[in-house]
């Protein structure tokens, strides 16, 4: 079974991508995810300066999913470059592309971090405009409103990062040009990671693509809260956190479906993928590749090989030979149109 796929010119042996924030802090762990079967790996989001993150609890399992507010602890862009270089070396040997996730508190900070991490030559840059857990500290209000909340701010960040990456590489902002050089292996393409708590994610996707995003990652976590009734306190130290895992899946599938109808770039479909069936569902919704995060909690790092085995078995049994054959299938008209007999008007 050929599970390979291509995301903006980057070849992946399989579509499963370690999602940002999961094991993405150390070269050793990124390599381990690669060894465990991930088709590509994403680093923990990195900002301009070192951050400690929140005190505990930072992640809990509330039954139908996880909720987290880790608070983007990271060593800062300078130290991150070292880690990226070490990771890149180990991952190149494994033939596993490296995705560098980054965030900033301002548009300028995003650009600055992008410029710095480009130095480590990641295969793709993922712009996390959607973390729900820190923006109050990053200049926002409570409740947090990350950059992905509005088309304008998401576009501004995307454009600034696109310019910074292009300039860092060769002083050119032309997207065509960047793509050309990407093939030459120097200027990484950009994926922008969107948030689900917006009325119209498709509109934001259109905006960031026109601003220079080469791909979309959808979605980040959905803001939520779990309260411990014995103490009356929110469980997370940050009170509000992001819901991930099984509870997020239908939300993520819908977002991917809507984005796929709106734009023509590859989508890294992320949210609640725990099984081979989930990954296939996400690809049918329109994803080219599939982010895997919370599944590492539910199934261990073996999640990658297990999900791949499940996908392979299902595809073989159904006579498919590649992922292209199922990609976006849910957008195909059904064999029979909707039934012509409507439901009756309700009586009272």
């Amino acid at each position: 079974m050929d599970l390979s796929c291509e995301v903006v010119g980057i070849k992946l042996k399989n579509p499963l991508i370690l999602a940002s924030g999961i094991m993405g802090t150390h070269a050793s762990l990124l390599a381990r995810a690669g060894l465990a079967g991930a088709g590509a790996v994403t680093t923990k989001s990195c900002g301009p300066v070192p951050r400690r993150g929140h005190v505990n609890p930072t992640v809990v399992d509330w039954g139908a999913g996880l909720i987290n507010a880790v608070g983007l602890p990271n060593p800062g862009a300078e130290a991150e470059v070292q880690m990226l270089c070490a990771a890149k070396e180990r991952l190149t040997a494994l033939d596993v592309p490296l995705i560098a996730s980054l965030f900033g508190g301002t548009v300028e900070e995003f650009a600055q971090v992008a410029e710095t991490v480009v130095g480590a030559e990641p295969d793709l840059i993922e712009v996390n405009v959607s973390c729900p857990n820190v923006s109050s500290e990053l200049g926002g209000d409570f409740p947090p409103t990350p950059f992905a909340s509005s088309c304008d701010s998401a576009v501004a960040v995307t454009r600034a990062v696109a310019v910074a990456v292009a300039q860092a590489v060769k002083g050119s902002t032309s997207r065509v040009h960047r793509e050309g050089t990407a093939k030459g292996g120097t200027a990484p393409p950009i994926a922008v990671k969107l948030a689900p708590n917006v009325p119209n994610i498709a509109e934001i996707a259109r905006g960031v693509v026109s601003a220079g995003a080469d791909a979309i990652t959808a979605i980040n976590t959905m803001p939520g809260m779990v309260i411990d009734i014995e103490s009356g306190q929110p469980v997370l130290a940050n009170k509000v956190g992001g819901v991930s895992g099984p509870a997020l899946k239908p939300i993520a599938v819908r977002c991917v479906y809507e984005i796929a109808q709106a734009v023509d770039v590859p989508i890294i479909g992320t949210g609640g993928v725990n099984t081979g069936a989930d990954a296939i569902e996400m690809i049918m919704a329109g994803a080219t590749a599939v982010g895997v995060g919370s599944a590492v909690y539910y199934r261990g790092v073996e999640a990658f090989s297990e999900i791949l085995d499940e996908m392979t078995a299902w595809l073989e049994e159904h006579g498919y030979e590649s992922l292209d054959e199922i990609q976006g299938l849910a957008h195909r008209e059904p064999a029979y149109g909707v039934a012509p007999s409507p439901a009756p008007i309700p009586s009272v």
Binding site: G24, T25, R32, P57, G63, S231, Q233, P246, T275, Y298
Partner: protein, 285 residues
Amino acid sequence: MLSHGQKETRTKVGIHRLPDAALPDAAQIRRVIDENARTKTLVLDASIDATPGQFIMAWLPGFDEKPFSLANDDPVTITVARVGPFTTLLHERGAGLPVRGTQTGDRVWIRGPFGHGFALAGERLLLVGGGYGVAPMGFLARRALKQGCHVTIAVGARTADDLLPGVLGTHGVFGTHPDHAALPFVDLGVELHTTTEDGSGGQQGLVTDAVEPLLAAGEVDTVYACGPHGMLVALDGLCREHGVPAQLSWEAYMRCGLGLCGSCEHDGRLLCVDGPVLAGGADGV
């Protein structure tokens, strides 16, 4: 709900049952044992199904949540050294928020157990504890004794005052402790070696000084250890030298405890899920 005729020949596409919630659960502190000037053992009104070497996360709502090795699983017992704000609060208050109504006393919220504990292997076990690393050793010794193993314990501390009599139940050695939860190991025939750096109790020196001759004598099948980083590194070396497998419990800064955040990275492994106990000595990688 449905079961299909063809299901036997059909592939199970990862049907994965949702687990129960693993949120912190409030537990009453039933008893507090003063171990020494900076260490208390808290016996909680809760039980848990755990392996020695596993840990729990203890939460004080709104304040912080921290990892502690289980000194016992039924009732859940932890031995806490006062080293900073969280452990100070645990000590001072017994713990927790003031509680309303019918429930009196202080509470601590726990979830777990987390991680992998000690794997029992061999017949003649040497358990080595340094500082509060002695806590899980009492738990482990009780399990090992139940399985009929021969157990030797070596504990190291700076001074006699830093030893943990309550955990070990070693009242016969360090004077009778009025209120202890654990078995009196000495009575059960557990060989106890004690070292203190200043010689105020047991043999003077480091715990490794007590361990080396035992390894050299070739009478130890496996070494189990929990304690400060330096002690574990030294033991790991000694065990390699003498060809003895070891099970070493390491520490790292725990955030999520769930194998996600990467905070507890240790040589490419995540101590919260792959550890805290890792194979070492002759079994080390």
